[in-house]
């Protein structure tokens, strides 16, 4: 499913829409960067509470379809800028990580 459609159905807000037509095939929830690098798969949507610059690098390196900041967390201007430069999608969810992941799972694997 396209990221744009996922965002609409889950009520996610785009902070950086670098490639909204990116394909989403699954999700991964973690706040540990090395864990994401080791276990997340390309085209997954990463749900996290981390909002610093290195999140962008991890998402890019792992070829994720985007990063969703849970529980209303908003990244700072440097993170937004880096994401634009690197072409990484950043989104926000008002729901906590559990409910965001739950809804994403139901949407992708009904």
């Amino acid at each position: 499913m396209k990221l744009r459609e996922v965002a609409e159905k889950l009520g996610l807000e785009f902070f950086v829409a670098a490639a909204p037509e990116a394909e989403v095939e699954g999700g991964y929830v973690s706040d540990l960067l090395s864990d994401v690098l080791a276990h997340a798969q390309p085209k997954q949507l990463w749900i996290t509470h981390q909002r610093h610059l290195n999140v962008v690098a991890v998402a890019k390196l792992r070829e994720l379809s985007g990063v969703v900041f849970a529980r209303g967390i908003r990244p700072g201007p440097e993170t937004l800028q880096r994401a634009k430069e690197e072409g990484v999608n950043l989104l926000g969810s008002k729901l906590d990580a559990f409910h965001t992941a739950g809804k994403l799972h139901r949407l992708l694997f009904p």
Partner: protein
């Protein structure tokens, strides 16, 4: 690279991937090199006053060499163990220091050599092979 420069950390690995892609290196090798570089880069930034990263690209392999100016690893075998970390609390709060850095480097390279001397520094050489073993006899078939 300068230690504790978290702003720029992460940019070396994305740059390394860009360079490797431009050179026509296989996507799987680019992916693994990116992860190895990110972990090595973070180790330099989080634990040392600074260091440098050298990227070497050969027909049959890619090498990443990380050298830093200290403080050195007292027990390298311990540092290789998943879950072992000496990261300070602030780094853990940022999602670093889960003790997966060196294991991740090992998992994404074909050989990982670590030489360290306490008080002097650490040199890590990661080798990522570009060809499948059965192709090793032939020359030039990847054309890169």
């Amino acid at each position: 690279m300068v230690g504790l420069d978290l702003e720029r950390a992460g940019t070396v690995s994305t740059e390394v991937q860009r360079v490797l892609r431009r050179l026509g290196v296989e996507p799987e090798v680019v992916r693994r090199a990116g992860i190895v570089c990110f972990e090595g880069e973070m180790n330099i930034v989080l634990y040392t006053p600074g260091g440098r990263i050298i990227l070497l690209v050969y027909d049959d392999r890619v090498e990443l060499i990380f050298s830093d100016f200290g403080p050195g690893i007292p027990d390298v075998e311990l540092a290789r163990q998943p879950g072992y970390s000496t990261a300070p609390e602030w780094a853990r709060e940022m999602g670093f220091g889960s003790g997966m850095g060196i294991p991740n480097m090992e998992a994404n390279s074909d050989r990982l050599e670590i030489r360290s001397r306490v008080g002097e520094g650490t040199v890590i050489r990661a080798t990522i092979l570009r060809r499948k073993r059965e192709a090793a006899g032939g020359r030039g078939e990847t054309g890169a």
